[in-house]
Amino acid sequence: MLKPSFSDLLRSSFRSILKNKSRTILTSLGIIIGVTSVILLTSIGNGLKNYVTQQFDALGANSIFISPGKIFNDNGGFSQSSMTTAMTTSFTQKDFNLLNRKLKNTIIMPVNAAYADIKSSYAIKKTTEIDGSTEEYGKSNNVVPSDGNGHWFTNEENDKKTPVVVLGYKIAQTLFPKSTAIGKKVIIKGKTLKVIGVVDQKGASMGGPSVDDAVYAPFSVVSDLAGNDNINTFVVKAPNKDLIASTKKEITKVMLEKYDSDAFSVFDSSQLLSSINSIISVLTIALTGIAAISLVVGGVGIMNIMLVSVTERTREIGLRKAIGAYPRAILIQFLIEAVILSCFGGLVGVILGSLGTVAINSFFPAKITISSILLAFGVSSAVGIIFGVAPARKASKLSPIEALRYE
């Protein structure tokens, strides 16, 4: 049986620590800072992943994208040469016709874009991206205005080049702050277009293009605005989730008839998502690793104070040994004190980290997880044990005579 009992040791350790309250807080500060940073960084990483996942969910399931250039490298990460290729090349109407001819049971949506100022009678929005596509795009990308907010354009409007636009929620507010945008006119590159719908508010974005800031028009209308009928991307709707892989293979086969394998990419949202998530994970782990260095620094701080404490309490250790404390009882007592210091730091760190996450989440995606709390707390306890061993061993090995004589 352990003598003293664990509860006695715990009480005795708490008492020793509470005798020096300010020292306890200062000693734990390193651990507090370390755990807080680890939790905040992992929360931001998790929040980003969640946010990206949500954004991809909004893109719609079963969607396959065909983009110019090689976007992914062989390891599933992003290819380094992709961006320049993707921005300088595009697909043509012939590609659209070819895909339409060869692919069965799929809906193929060409997407193009023009950049121009948008003017209303109230305001002007400088250099805005206007995305062009077809009737199916609205449903596929979950951007069809809800009842009462107008409607998405039809293929008939596309065919007839009817000058209509659908605005994102925020841009509609900017252009028409006082009344509803629906039915009003906007002027883009000297052409007048009628607002036929406003997409429901989708919520905060991280600075990238958001649906709330988007402007949509029929493909043919955007082609006129851009001055060419290039196609930037194809969005292909597979009949169901199970057919995504086979549809991708089919598309690749068709595209290889005309292009080199480096000239285009065929991917689905889950592939893109996992690539982005793996980048976020690597970044999170790297940043958390840097933050974890402060945990080690905190551990050294605890070791330092525990060594001071052993020296200060040399006579006490001598007395305890004289009245019957065996070496292991002394070792455990000092070890518990070190662990209490680091756990206290860990606990305060978890609280501060959680509060910090809530605060950050109001302007940046951040999400705390139980696993990050357990990890941070577990690491801080381990730091206490690792850095507490040396001082505790020193205390337990003191000779009772010399300890009692210590001045």
């Binding site: 049986m1 006579r315 009692l404």
Partner: protein, 235 residues
């Protein structure tokens, strides 16, 4: 009390056989105890005295199992304990011996009661009776109304009485006191000595104390005078 010479061997509680203790100080070797043999009987009140550096403290430490002899044997209740492991010695110190120090060695910022209860942390005494035992010990030393006071709130004499209560809590066979009155004024010192006498006479406890003060040493029933690591004479 009868003198040790009149006691028979069956009453021997502690025996030192040919104890030698040498310290190596650099290249020199210093002999603190030189072939000392000694028997302490149950219920004796023994003082160990001698000039500074005579080896009386070393002798006390070996008797108190705080230090190992270089050679020789220590027998406690007839059992050789010279070769026991540290945790076994700790248990004997906890149960069989009670220490009283010159510096009191009470834990600062800790109440008298908790100081008294300290040895029980390392004993088998059930938790539910510890508090009552501590109170009874404080009553015994007349400090029941100071149970919650910390050492800083007590006089020197009171602190030493708390230390005595701590030494007694495990009902030890032998009380060992190292200059117990050394840090006290004469009145408090006399009170402490009176208390030791009572413990010896009324409860029959074996008491061994070290002092450099010859007058104080004479108050014991048996005085061992030590000089240059050897027992000079016994009175």
């Amino acid at each position: 009390m009868t003198k040790s010479s009149s006691k028979n061997n069956s009453n021997v509680i502690l025996e030192l056989k040919n104890i030698t203790k040498t310290y190596a100080t650099g290249t020199n070797c210093f002999t603190a105890l030189d072939n000392v043999s000694l028997k302490i009987h149950q219920g004796e009140f023994v003082s160990i005295t001698g000039p500074s550096g005579s080896g009386k403290s070393t002798l006390m430490h070996i008797v108190g199992l705080l230090d190992n002899p270089t050679s020789g044997e220590v027998l406690l209740n007839g059992k050789n304990i010279s070769r026991l492991k540290e945790h076994q010695l700790a248990q004997i110190r906890n149960v069989t011996l009670g220490f009283v120090f010159q510096q009191f060695n009470l834990l600062a910022k800790t109440s008298s009661l908790e100081n008294v209860l300290l040895p029980l942390l390392y004993s088998d005494v059930p938790k539910n009776v510890r508090h009552q035992m501590g109170i009874e010990m404080l009553i015994k030393v007349g400090l029941e109304n100071k149970a919650s006071n910390t050492p800083a709130q007590l006089s020197g004499g009171q602190q030493q009485r708390v230390a005595i209560a701590r030494a007694l809590i495990n009902n030890p066979q032998i009380i060992l006191a190292d200059e117990p009155t050394g840090n006290l004024d004469s009145k408090s010192g006399a009170e402490v000595m009176k208390f030791f006498h009572q413990l010896n006479e009324k409860e029959g406890r074996t008491i061994i104390f070290v002092t450099h003060d010859m007058d104080l040493a004479k108050q014991a029933n048996r005085t061992i005078i030590i000089k240059d690591g050897k027992i000079l004479e016994e009175k």
